[in-house]
Symmetry: C2
Subunit: 515 residues, 2 copies
């Protein structure tokens, strides 16, 4: 009979851009999310877990205009024809949920959500196609009190997970102020040209300028977003006549007049020593714009509301140089930065940077219902915040393994199991070695790989004498690394105790190591 051809073995690999998380990585994230959820809950936010799968239609941003609508998302077609996709963030599902359930939900609706999202993007180093987000949003309130509350909650959250006061700063800006500048600089020029009042005949050029500026708001926003990258000189070039980049290629500028560019720079630099001084500078920049002045008033109100709750500018500060997100949001925007230094890949000091951001976006559910619903919210970068906590030593890099009860005599497995049962019932993490017990060395190697603090040993001799051996593996490895022979003799890391003192001795050793 001919040999049947075997199917080739499948590759044991995660798909490209995906990864697995092990042990400590999982539990530390779960613990951090639990603390965050605790703060959100205390602020009156309710949990929401929407389905990971949405219709492409409901997700919206990626509506099909090609045969396969998977630009940026993982999407597939159902047999009956509907396109489904994995959610790419937690905000688009919130819009769908609110539109779907709005008659049953309270208004305003405060909700938090945490979980993985998926992006069908080219993976890169440290950039994965599945990652966690952790959001809180208030839907249905146009009050800036809702924005202020989000900022206060963000400060509380950072402190709750272990970022000390002084190690973070929440910076607040307002999209309306930026809109106001565009309006105000044009208006200001007009007034300068016609100090005695506007001549309807002569103002045409300025009205044209204003229209052109407003039309280029998005381009301005994208340019200001490059502030950190290209610096002030770069911004001046990009808003004005254009700029040669590092490769020598010429990037055309937006061609804005000098005094307009000046207005934007004044905005970026408006941050002063106190919130009051900042706000007063901003008022000057937007003096001829109602929307701009409204934006400054909102910032002033946010600062007042926060001050009344004890959140001063040492924690939450008005700072117009926060540009990120101005393009997306419609009102106040906020960003939480960690202010301590870390060393980058090349050993240079740099600030840790942003771990959370958010703002007001008032068109959340309009797509579904036709009605504008105001909303404001924040999203925490879970992985970055975890990295920060690790950096600050707030979470242990290594997990503590279980106490390992070794198997010296396979026939007495029941007795070894009774030992771990005793330890576990006392709340101590413990296990019996369940591999092949023949080679004792393998059992200790296993304990080492598990980062076990203690090994318990009961051979036939110990059994006969009613004692057990308890090996302090942490002390043992310290001694092995650093001690001289004399110290080694003086500081035994293995103890013989009567069987009925096992629990007490294990406790003593764990306590000694602060475990």
């Amino acid at each position: 009979m001919a040999k049947q051809k075997k199917a080739p073995r499948p590759k044991a690999e995660t798909p490209k851009g995906f990864r697995d998380y092990f042990g400590h990585e999982v539990t530390m994230r779960a613990e951090m999310l639990r603390k965050i959820a605790g703060v959100y809950h205390r602020y009156g936010f309710d949990a929401l877990e929407s389905s990971a799968v949405e219709t492409v239609e409901a997700l919206g941003k990626f509506l099909p205009d090609v045969d396969r609508p998977n630009e940026g998302v993982f999407a597939w077609q159902e047999d009956e024809g509907d396109w489904l996709a994995l959610r790419y963030d937690l905000t688009a599902p919130l819009a769908r949920v609110y539109a779907q359930h709005r008659n049953d939900l309270p208004t305003p609706y405060r909700r938090y959500a945490m979980g993985p999202v998926w992006r069908n993007e080219k993976p890169g180093p440290g950039r994965f196609r599945q990652f966690y987000q952790c959001d809180a949003d208030t839907v249905g309130s146009g009050s800036v009190a809702a924005d202020a509350e989000i900022c206060a909650m963000l400060a509380d959250t950072l402190e709750e997970v272990g970022i000390a006061r002084g190690d973070y700063l929440i910076r607040v800006n307002n999209r309306k102020v930026l809109n106001g500048i565009i309006e105000s600089v044009a208006e200001g020029q007009k007034r300068d040209a016609f100090p005695d009042g506007v001549s309807p005949q002569g103002s045409g050029a300025f009205d044209e300028l204003k229209a052109r500026l407003i039309a280029s708001t998005d381009a301005v926003m994208r340019t200001l977003d490059k502030f950190e990258k290209v610096g002030e000189a770069g911004i001046i070039e990009l808003l004005g006549g254009g700029r040669k980049d590092a490769s020598g290629a010429f990037i055309p500028g937006l061609g804005l007049p000098h005094y307009v560019v000046h207005g934007f720079l004044a905005f970026l630099h408006a941050k002063a020593e106190t919130n009051e001084a900042t706000l007063s500078r901003l008022r000057e920049v937007v003096e001829y714009s109602n929307e701009g002045l409204e934006g400054v008033d909102e910032l002033a109100e946010i600062a007042d509301l926060l001050a009344a709750q004890g959140y001063g500018p040492d924690r939450i500060v008005i700072d117009p140089s926060v540009v990120r997100g101005l393009g997306y949001y419609t009102g106040p925007v906020f960003e939480a930065e960690l202010t301590f230094d870390i060393l980058d890949d090349k050993g240079r000091k740099r600030q840790f940077g942003s771990v959370a951001g958010g703002g007001r976006y008032d068109d959340l559910v309009k797509r579904f219902t036709g009605q504008a619903v105001p909303a404001t919210g924040v999203s925490i970068g879970v992985d970055r915040l975890l990295a920060a906590l690790r950096e600050k030593g707030r979470i242990d890099a290594r997990e503590v393994g279980p106490v390992v009860v070794t198997v010296m005599d396979r026939e007495r497995m029941a007795e070894y199991q009774a030992m771990v049962a005793e330890l576990r019932q006392a709340g101590i993490r413990a296990e019996v070695y369940l591999g092949n017990p023949k080679q004792f060395g393998n059992q200790l190697k296993y304990a080492d790989k598990r980062q076990s603090p203690i090994a318990v040993i009961e051979g036939g001799d110990e059994k006969a004498r009613g004692v057990i051996q308890i090996k302090d593996l942490i002390l043992g490895s310290q001694i092995a690394e650093t001690a001289t022979h004399e110290e080694w003799k003086d500081r035994p890391s293995q103890f013989e105790v009567p069987r009925d003192q096992m629990l007490a001795k294990v406790r003593e050793i764990l306590d000694m190591h602060g475990l």
Copy 2:
């Protein structure tokens, strides 16, 4: 200019078979999973969170043999040609993870995993296409001590989440015993026919029977699985000559001889008063099969190991009538059942039933590496267990909302925010009403919808007098429902206290309601 045709509004709907989880549903599940993870961790199991997306190749069971390999899974093709899919359980990913990382993982590898899985199946009432699983497995140990440990851990887990001892029972069976019956009945018949020793000439018919029985093991298993549905008489018919179902249609039987059918029934009915008696009955049934006797020995050892740790048959019991899963597993199988009665849809009493199951499956990673790796594990039905806890009153059906500070005077928002800040800092869930405050009635309606226990009110008059009103909404609604007019006068549900006693009074009311 012609009006631009608007795109139709997207439907705000979850895809068919998916749902959203709100508030309490989310937090209660998270809390239960946290407790379960705590027990698993104490037993030495490490967390694992594998990616939700796997290659179809790695998932295996659903390998492409058609154009679109999405039978049972949600799958899609990457631009470069790989087929990806959402995981349909947590075991297939464990196999991939262990094969991929086996050089870095300890052996045995104890891991737990919890999270959503996805099934591309026809949704039905209460049956969703995304649901939670919560698994613990020991990979790389062939010892029945690993199986016993899983059973002990399952008992601890159920008690930890709030199922009282006596309200659950973990029943243990062994696939090898079932295999042994098939071997043993054939062998037994042969020995009866040739009491003085086997005649090589005459034994052909029995060898044929044995081969036929072994070939029909899967069909036998599927039939035994119908025990609960069709009862003993039905099983006899289905294993034997066939059976007419309720509609009158004839279902052909497996055509097994009567004495074989009798063997299987003896197996199903082997459960006796004590484990010892059960095991001794099983030994009789499989007396001529080495595999069967090995299976009984394993069950005996599991019972001994558990007894040594204090888990008696009141919690974990040998019970051969556990048939579910016998087709899938290769050794010991276990099932946790809740033994208390509930009322079904039609008001009839019935047992709550199974909430967890598992067993030994020894071919986990062979697909990937060619090497057989023994493994054993358990999976908890998260949603069923939550339903059970709700049934037993172990988790509140209703969530307690935040204390709501009402807004009587929009200009004093900062003061109201300061009030909630004070409450939150004392750990009390609280919020300011952030909707339009004009109609006070809406604020109280909101508090009602949020299930708020308390509303705090400070109008201009109260402010002037330095007092606030505190409304006990729980008491208020109790009184509204049940009290007479006199009682209503005697038991005021609204209290006026000085502003600086707000926190104390709120605490007092919450304490009174046990919140």
